[in-house]
């Protein structure tokens, strides 16, 4: 079941994630601010370089900024050019079945060819 109603399991997951993220944040702050000598005196010597405490957030923010531009560029690149047949038809429209016309019924949904659409829009009916 995929209902959005609250369940006891979800409350437990949420609280565990909340505690975990607070713990991770405190650990990050301690690693970034406490001088190395104090950490060494406690016996904790195997930490990554403090350079990364500043570098990783900067990398993340620059990646998010570039991601906006990259997504925009990817969208523009995947737009079909003006001279491609993708602007007129596609595989589903080519293989569609023609349903039989029934009296007094709404016609079935289908992809209307572009020549027919143009004639209907732009040539005035006499």
């Amino acid at each position: 079941e995929n209902s959005p109603s609250p369940l006891p399991e979800r409350a437990i997951y949420g609280f565990a994630l909340f505690l975990g993220s607070w713990f991770g944040f405190m650990l990050y702050l301690i690693w970034a601010y406490v001088p190395e000598t104090w950490l060494f005196s406690l016996g904790l010597t195997y930490w990554p370089q403090k350079y990364w405490a500043v570098a990783l957030p900067v990398y993340l923010l620059v990646a998010i900024g570039i991601g906006y531009i990259l997504l925009f560029g990817i969208n523009m690149m995947s737009t079909a050019p003006l001279n491609s047949t993708d602007t007129v038809t596609d595989n589903f429209a080519k293989k569609q079945q023609q349903k039989k016309f029934q009296e007094e019924a709404i016609p079935a949904l289908r992809d209307i060819p572009i020549s027919e659409v143009n004639r209907m829009f732009f040539l005035p009916e006499k």
Binding site: L82, N83, T89, K94, I114, S115, R119, F122
Partner: protein, 187 residues
């Protein structure tokens, strides 16, 4: 011969000229606005001022001669390869469709499409650079499949007329293309 004034997609004034050579032959030409003297002098002055600023910074007189040569060569290349003066469409009922582009330097580039390859001339809508534009295009027939489209040839790419001009061109072309169905096919 009739002439109407319209606007292009960017707002410039373009002229559509229609000539009826015979009952089954029609020529439609769209004329773009000419290169304006003020925009040419503005671009040239901007380029030369930038070059002079660079010369003041670097004290190298080659910058000035390079700027003059680049401006002249750039103008010639622009007039010969980029600036289109007129795009015309000649529809001959039993023969085919000829598309001509004439550039500002006098160069003309022509494409001819035989009538048996032409499926239809339609106004298509497509997404182009964050906008949805209407453009006229020739649909080429797929030799294996009578309902299929093998290729799309967009027309009037430089003058980019708006929908009212395109509807006029579309109606003129359809009057000639309809004669294909009534006249007997000879292969």
């Amino acid at each position: 011969m009739e002439e109407w004034w319209y606007r292009s997609a960017s707002g410039a004034r373009i002229a559509l000229r229609r000539r009826q050579h015979s009952a089954s032959c029609r020529e439609l030409a769209v004329r773009c606005p000419r290169l304006r003297l003020r925009s040419l002098s503005a671009a040239t002055s901007a380029a030369w001022l930038a070059a002079y600023g660079l010369f003041v910074l670097t004290e190298n007189s080659m910058v000035l001669s390079a700027a003059i040569i680049i401006t002249l060569v750039g103008l010639i290349i622009y007039l010969h390869f980029v600036k289109i003066d007129q795009e015309s469409l000649l529809v001959i009922g039993s023969l085919g469709i000829q598309v001509t582009s004439s550039y500002a330097s006098g160069k003309e580039s022509t494409t001819f499409i035989e009538m048996s390859q032409v499926k239809d001339v339609v106004i298509n809508e497509a997404i182009h650079m964050q906008k949805v534009i209407y453009y006229l295009c020739i649909l080429l027939q797929d030799p294996g499949d009578p309902q299929g489209v093998s290729e799309v040839v967009p027309l009037f790419q430089s003058s980019k007329p708006r929908l009212d001009c395109l509807i006029e061109v579309y109606k003129s072309c359809q009057e000639i293309l309809e004669q294909r169905k009534t006249a007997p096919q000879s292969s």
